[in-house]
């Protein structure tokens, strides 16, 4: 019996068509898996289902009746519970209090604590987790324990469809096995699960059917999860249309004989990545590809000194680099971090003040600051990057994502960096502005800067980088010229281990 049916779902954000005529149909009691690369539209789709986004077009039917889901409360009322990656539990409250948060069992305004605890105990028992004490503070539980509490919470809301957004990302192998036991128990009682994961092996094990999204469209609906060949699934996920013209790359041998600027040998950071070795030469763009959690960003942070390495060596132009952000910046490293707004920008300050942040000393004499020298210098770089609006006194928080990113890049140009570390440079940048950023990045490389690029979007890494390093679970699995790789090959490498175990 079809429980939830979504048809013709479309959702547009300024500059991006996130969903276009998407279909999804989930049966009661099945585990339906949703596959797709980053940016394929999975998150948007589940947010539509959770009532967090309103679709522009399309219809959602529950039990055959069309229902509007204008807000999260409506979705919950219709029995749809969504467990996001960052679980929305209150750490300071007990397990029972969390399970009934927002729908406390009460009489005359007084919480019936005993009833709630008993009910919570029953729910946990249903999930096969009697050992979690309902009085325990949620903050003291492991990630796996918290997930169980969230599931119990979903059950307490009489959820008929539970959406799990990459639930295994935070779990160890045995915890995943346990989660699967719980999921099987739920489906046996007729609860449907929409399961999102990048790990093909998991989909094979727990899934009944698979739907695949690409570029915001449904490219496969309801394939059998166990028998569809891996190659078939990967083929459907890849081949995303190239929306952005990538700037031309120099010849494959262009960097031969060029000086190594950044060299990393056997770099290890416990719990994040192990034995990472690579070298970036003058004018070269090295791309790091891998899933979220594969250690990509951590590698950048460690090179930048924001994270301590447990072993290994980092060389800058042949000389060992001391640990710490200070030495890294003085040595000529620059980082455009993943979270632009929280890690890079002073949002309420002007562009000029943001750009000059690491170079302040240059515009000061005995500490006395010359604002004019500063803005003049900043302007030469923002103009070169065509940052708009051109007025550098404008507040940076009001610029578009693409121009904010240009401000961050301008910061390091002004500082005069030799190595630029770019972590998800086009996140939150709309499609039109991306091509522009790609051009800027390539021009920087051509001017001799060595660039280390991390991106969740495979076409971006493959289209922009000269060489690519593929990371899987903290290990380098391949290093190759970007021209020798294609999306399918890389996706295969990223997913491989999970397919084989």
């Amino acid at each position: 019996m079809t429980l939830v049916e979504m048809t013709g779902i479309g959702k547009e954000f300024p500059g991006v068509r996130a969903l276009d005529d998407v279909e999804l149909s989930v049966e009661a009691g099945e585990v339906h898996c949703l596959l797709g690369q980053n940016g394929a539209g999975k998150s948007t789709l589940i947010k539509v289902l959770a009532g967090a986004h309103r679709p522009d077009t399309g219809e959602i039917r529950i039990d055959g009746t069309p229902v509007p889901l204008p807000n999260p409360t409506a979705a919950i009322r219709h029995g749809i519970a969504t467990l996001y990656q960052e679980l929305d539990l209150v750490d300071g409250l007990s397990v029972a209090e969390n399970i009934f948060l927002g729908h406390e069992q009460a009489r005359g305004g007084f919480v019936r604590r005993a009833t709630m605890r008993a009910e919570a105990r029953k729910l946990l028992e249903r999930l096969g987790h009697r050992e979690i004490r309902v009085e325990r503070e949620v903050g003291t539980l492991s990630a796996a324990g918290k997930q169980i509490v969230s599931l119990a919470r979903a059950l307490s809301l009489d959820a008929r469809l539970i959406v799990l957004d990459e639930p295994s990302a935070v779990l160890a192998a045995d915890e995943v096995a346990n989660l699967f036991r719980v999921i099987r128990g739920l489906t046996a009682r007729g609860v449907a699960v929409l399961y999102i994961s990048h790990r093909l092996a998991e989909i094979r094990e727990i899934g009944d059917r698979v739907s695949v999204l690409k570029d915001g469209r449904t490219v496969a609906a309801g394939l059998p999860a166990r028998t569809t060949p891996t190659g078939d699934l990967v083929a459907r996920m890849t081949g995303r249309r190239i929306e952005f013209p990538f700037p031309p790359r120099p010849a494959p041998d262009a960097h031969d004989g060029k000086q190594e600027i950044l060299g990393v040998t056997g770099l290890t950071c416990d719990g994040a990545f192990e034995d990472v070795t690579f070298s970036v030469r003058e004018g070269e763009i090295l791309g790091l590809a891998g899933l979220v959690g594969s250690g990509r960003s951590e590698v950048l942070e460690t090179v930048y000194g924001a994270r301590k390495a447990t072993a290994g060596e980092i060389r800058l132009a042949g000389k060992p680099l001391k640990t710490g952000v200070g030495p890294a910046v003085r040595g000529g490293l620059g980082l455009a971090p993943e979270e632009r707004k929280s890690q890079a920008l002073l949002l309420h300050e002007s562009v000029a003040r943001n750009v000059s942040l690491p170079s302040l000393r240059r515009y000061a004499r005995f500490g006395w600051f010359s604002a004019k020298a500063e803005t003049d210098a900043v302007r030469t770089h923002t103009e070169a990057l065509d940052l708009r609006p051109a007025d550098v006194r404008r507040v940076v928080g009001k610029l578009s994502g693409g121009n904010q990113q240009k401000a961050v890049v301008a910061r390091w140009l002004l500082k005069g960096c030799r190595v630029l570390l770019l972590d998800e440079p086009t996140r939150g940048v709309d499609v039109g502005a991306r091509a522009e950023l790609y051009r800027v990045i390539r021009e920087l490389a051509d001017s001799g800067v060595a660039i280390l690029l991390v991106s969740s979007e495979l076409p971006e890494v493959l289209g922009l980088a000269d060489r690519v390093l593929v990371l899987r679970e903290g290990h380098v699995v391949t290093e190759a010229d970007a021209r020798e790789l294609d999306e399918r090959r890389v996706l295969d490498l990223i997913l491989e281990e999970h397919v084989h175990d």
Partner: protein, 334 residues
Amino acid sequence: MTEQAAEQAPARAVSERRRISEIRNLGLVGVLVLLVVIGALTEPGQFLSTGTLVLLLTQASVIGVITVGMTFVIIGGGIDLSVGAVVALATVWATTKATQSFGIGGIVFCAVAVGVGAGLVTGLLIAYGRLVAFIATLAMLASARGLAIQLSQGRTQTVSTKNQALVDLGYQDSYVLGIPPLVLIFAAVAVLGWIVLNRTTFGRRTYAIGGNLEAARLAGINVRLHTCLLYVLSGLCCGIASVMLIILTSSGTSGNGNLYELDAIAAVIIGGTLLSGGRGTLVGSVLGVLVFTTISVLFTLNNLPTAVQQLAKGVLIVLAVLIQRRYSTERNSR
């Protein structure tokens, strides 16, 4: 996903940040003018005299110097609750018999050194010991006051006749062009503070650290050292204020500086500095101090009870914060 909307927004040529603080300072000037008008109407004979003006400025100067340091700390994203207690400790230590035997230089040096030392200790605890500023300075508040009581045995220590020259600075004979030296010290500290905050890399980094600590750190700024220095600076201001208080009262006692921390924080806040850091002006803080002091003088002249005066201050703080929130929501809306 509001990028295009942002792109279409009308380009504003003037730095919006600066404009907002200007408006707010204008508002404070308005309040100040209003208070003066009220004073002129209710007590015309007394309020508009030079004597009252000198009294007002003198009263403002001690807390004013402390407020300058506090402004730095708060813009840098911190808080310093220990200022009042540090002032008590510094005045007591600087007026012990042993210190006084070194003469006026000894007194001044001791007061400043105690202030800087206390600031250094809290700064180290916060920056390198990773203590929350509220807790570290609360601890300093308690222990500095305790040490002050211990040192003075609870007695008021007067400045000896040998060092009378210091106390004389508070008398009319020492006025320069009719301005008391204390007011001149305050003016000097305020001007220096303004220069450091607005015209030096130190000031710019203070804004950066308070505005986005992570961004500042990733831009290569030594945020720990800088944070530590902010508290040293606050301590230095306390030391200077202690010397001024000794001049004013010709004594040192462990009861000095009581609740100064609240007055200073309140002045900074109504001056438009965000308690969360990253934004604020020194001019605003100075105006804040002047507004508070004017209220005190006004109430005293009109023989109103101090209770009413406290109430008026409270209302003013709430109003200031309400206005502030409008700007900060605007700031966080993206």
